[in-house]
Symmetry: C2
Subunit: 382 residues, 2 copies
């Protein structure tokens, strides 16, 4: 049924370290851009779904969707907010896709957004730290430290050089420099990354995404209304082993593998059909691990692809053409929707300086350290 | 399509002023009870949806659904959390119903829960206050003050006595005294209510729901698997005018009217078909206003029904047989699911001392001061 849901509009705010406006305004700006793009009046919306992780803690507010629906003038719409930590955006998209697939809405607006600049480091660290297993959290293991452990294991097991991680960072910064919506518009070299401060050995500053403010939005519609639009071939998800310590292998991200398998099955597509991918690169090593979990590369092979430029804009499989979380930025609840906005622009041929040749795109948005993952496949007639 | 979704299991924790256990444990207890009731192993769940308003602010944690899914052993399930302020529970239910209706899940667990005792008064007041329009919030208008204004207008316009509000409180306390899961097991008289401290004139302490800890859960399944179970005939929602100041009439709760109309239409039922109702009585006056919005009574007529005992357990339309928010308690994200648990128990004839004769039940869960509302209709073959 999901194959009958289309994306008819897309838009986003620029991502930044401090937007200087309230979360409500970020959501409204992205929503208005997506509605304008779809040529749809807010009053004609059946449903509004907001993806946000922690406005209660970061902004001291709740019920973002009700305020947004009112400010847009989507009078009488069905509305709610979906949270799935750092994958809240993609989960809100899934909720909207299912609403349309169930016949509960003919048109739905999905808006992901987060304002992280409002939170103190203590608040942000506390809430973000809580999204992993509570014992691991209690022992002081953070997301960067999990990523550092995985990166260390990856480099050792496959005898890979640090430069393969730095290559991911340099590629995504190069892509971000072509994206006017990206938080970082600066190209870096692998040498810059190698000389940046250590965060969690072997990961350095340029291996880690920033904290960000921003929002992104898409409009969904039942297929009969928009036959030439971008089609949602699949939007699937899965939880992974919650405690990282209970995983058989630190280099496996089971949630991504499972969500990917489900999405490929639902879409009736495989890795060979995918022309462009948006991968959850909160840390450079995650881009490699996720590409392997999804089957684009065998275990221990993605790093060579990064070094060889296979995942660059002009490579065989362009990955994160918009800059990824690394360079576009990572406003938690916005990211999953921003990935889909980038795919929509790419699939329509509207990605300007970073356009790749594509008919099928895939996005993976990950919650925590693989605690949950959402995988979507979008497509246009080529 | 919604008529093919069934509730195959229901369970909840006792509601209390301080549960003394973490929010994760409340959710797990309710979930386990619902799964046991359904005779379903957690490993067989396709989806887990948690309804919670503000764990980020109240408990400093996010991603409740991922921790819950892990602790239950629902390996690989699709999971997320839905927030709709005080209607988060019913919105999570709607999300689950649509997942099953869309064919994205054959079985889904919906768990609503909140732990409010962990929040300081300052934190709770701040976050709960944020769910109304931001200008009204900035001016210092709170939910109790909105309810006080509405109650004052109601009593004046219809020349109704305060005792009609107190009658709602006394009825719901009487029902709560028959419900072992209720926070308040104490009967009160209308005189007790009239003598309780003023909160927002004319509303007194006994006109207001308490703050609470608790959780409730239901298991959903596609109809083919459970033909004799309780059927979800409809689960519909609508936002209302966000700013109360912009409403044409302070005594109208448009979100409830609209959600109710949609639910009756989707269910192909009307008020005359409803045998029992769970109404969002965060304040006594709301029970009256919502019964009128839903069409059970004309404007200004519900108070007579309350005085005449029509909405008592042995009345023509038993309302809030489980004690309502007033006496069962109101752990924000739990309430919407607890209403449905009560309906399931009533429809199955398992409500013991508070059993009413019923085949069709309706529940309304309201966000904020009518900023959003969710209306569900459940049914069994009589």
């Amino acid at each position: 049924m999901q194959s009958h849901v289309c994306v008819t509009g897309a838009g986003m705010t620029a991502f930044s370290g401090d937007a200087g406006v309230p979360i409500h305004e970020l959501l409204e700006t992205a929503a208005t851009r997506a509605l304008d793009d779809a040529g749809l009046a807010a009053a004609d919306l059946d449903a509004v779904h907001v993806g946000n992780m922690a406005a209660e803690a970061f902004d001291g507010v709740s019920g973002l969707h009700n305020a947004l629906t009112a400010s847009l003038g989507a009078h009488g719409a069905r509305a709610d907010r979906v949270e799935n930590t750092s994958a809240s955006g993609a989960s809100a998209f899934q909720r909207g896709v299912q609403a349309v697939a169930a016949g509960a809405a003919d048109t739905a607006l999905v808006v992901g957004g987060e304002r992280m600049s409002t939170a103190s480091t203590e608040t942000a660290t506390g809430v973000i730290g809580s999204i992993v297993h509570d014992r691991e959290h209690a022992y002081g293991v953070t997301l960067p430290s999990f990523a550092g452990l995985a990166a260390d294991a990856y480099l050792r097991r496959y005898d890979a050089p640090y430069e393969s991680l730095a290559a991911v960072a340099a590629k995504n910064h190069a892509n971000g420099a072509r994206n006017p919506y990206a938080q970082f518009q600066k190209r870096i070299t692998t040498g810059d990354a190698a000389e940046s401060p250590l965060v969690a050995d072997p990961l350095r500053l340029y291996d880690c995404c920033p904290t960000s403010d921003g929002a992104a939005a898409v409009v969904l519609a039942a297929a009969d209304d928009a036959d030439d639009a971008v089609r949602v071939r699949a939007c699937e998800s899965a939880v992974g082993t919650h405690a990282v310590a209970e995983r058989e292998d630190l280099l496996r991200v089971e949630s991504v593998a499972r969500a990917g398998e489900r999405a490929f099955a639902a879409a009736d597509r495989d890795t060979g059909d995918v022309d462009v991918a948006c991968i959850h690169d909160a840390f450079t090593v995650l881009e490699l691990l996720e590409l392997e979990e999804l089957g684009f590369y065998g275990a221990g092979e993605a790093y060579r692809a990064a070094l060889d430029g296979e995942t660059a804009l002009d490579g065989a499989l362009p990955v994160n053409p918009g800059g990824g979380l690394k360079a576009r930025g990572h406003p938690l609840g916005a990211t999953g929707v921003a990935q889909l906005v980038e795919l929509v622009w790419q699939l329509r041929g509207e990605a300007d300086d970073r356009q790749v040749d594509c008919g099928t795109g895939l996005a993976v948005n990950v919650a925590g350290f693989g605690n949950n993952a959402v995988c979507s496949v979008l497509e246009v007639a080529e």
